[in-house]
């Protein structure tokens, strides 16, 4: 199986200090509302051939009615 560098690393978890978290603060990321996700989320988008990354970024903003989005670029 072909792997990128980080995919070869086995991540272990070490406990430095056992601690509980207080559920009165923050929240499980999977419980965020769709509205929160639209303003603070990630889309793994298959960019169509043709339009530039910037144009696709604009389409996404129009579809979702937001005014800020960014892409991780296309390096060829």
């Amino acid at each position: 199986m072909d792997k990128l560098l980080f995919e070869k690393i086995e991540r272990k978890i070490f406990v430095k200090k056992e601690s509980e978290t207080d559920w009165n603060y923050g929240q499980d990321p999977n419980k965020r509302s769709v509205e929160e996700l639209i303003n603070y989320g990630i889309v793994n988008l298959n960019k169509p051939a043709g339009p530039t990354s910037h144009q696709v970024s604009d389409y996404v903003q129009i579809i979702l009615g937001i005014n800020k989005s960014g892409h991780s670029g296309t390096l060829v």
Partner: protein, 244 residues
């Protein structure tokens, strides 16, 4: 693509490994064995001069090619899959491949199949997004939840440190993380990009490790991570007040 406040996360994806499927066109017919021989020259550490039209300074740089597999050879068309370090120019690989074969070659088509933790098995089209958004407007959020993911998905490939509730807010204010604030940690080296997380698995910030994970386990105080980018809003967690 990152949305709204999440946009600043894209830098970490730019800096992470990529996989592409590329169609290369050879300018003259070449024996298949010769192609397979040249492939070996394009795996491991390679030297690359960025193309004339590129966003970076044109000087020879070294990049790691983790794998380069020929998928199909059809006449002068060569389809291959390549896993590489961030900042590798595939167009340049094709060009240099042609030079090595002494026939010339160019990149015909390119698809990115991996970028950091994201791959082509979970990607969506603009149409999927539009449809899902319409469903959501009509009250069904099942589809859009499959497409728009929490920002934490974009740091899945990074080593992490989980911090105490009482430490979260100081990091939100831009403070460096010190060792007593750590609850759990992954294995990592010094000078790596680290995702600082809450114990609820929320992303707080990104930073650079000042020590490796073993040293952090063994020491009781001192600097652990230099915070570089804060994502969580301030005052989500209570402000820690020292007991005097």
């Amino acid at each position: 693509m990152a949305l709204g406040k999440a946009t600043r996360i894209v830098q970490t994806l730019l800096n992470s490994g990529k996989e592409y499927i590329c169609l290369m066109y050879l300018h003259k017919p070449v024996d298949e064995n010769e192609i397979h021989r040249v492939v070996k020259k394009f795996t491991g550490r390679i030297k690359q001069l960025p193309p004339i039209r590129s966003a970076v300074k044109r000087r020879l740089r070294t990049r790691e090619i983790y794998y380069l597999n020929i998928l199909e050879i059809d006449g002068q068309n060569v389809l291959f899959k390549v896993g590489c370090e961030a900042g590798t120019y595939i167009r340049k690989i094709c060009h240099d491949f042609g030079q090595e074969l002494k026939t010339g070659a160019h990149m015909e088509q390119l698809i990115r199949t991996k970028a950091g933790p994201f791959n082509d098995s979970s990607w969506h089209s603009l149409h999927d997004l539009k449809d899902a958004y319409e469903f959501y407007k009509e009250g069904d959020e099942k589809e859009i939840r499959k497409i728009i993911l929490p920002i934490e998905e974009a740091v899945r490939h990074l080593p992490k440190i989980w911090v105490l509730d009482s430490t979260v807010d100081s990091v939100c204010h831009g403070a460096y993380l010190s060792i007593p604030g750590i609850s759990r940690l992954n294995n990592f080296n010094e000078n790596e990009t680290i995702a600082i997380m809450t114990l609820k698995e929320e992303l707080v910030a990104l930073g650079t490790s000042a020590l490796n994970s073993d040293e952090m386990m063994n020491k009781e105080k001192g600097l652990a991570v230099k915070t570089t980018k804060v994502f969580m809003d301030r005052n989500v967690y209570p402000r820690f007040t020292s007991k005097k």
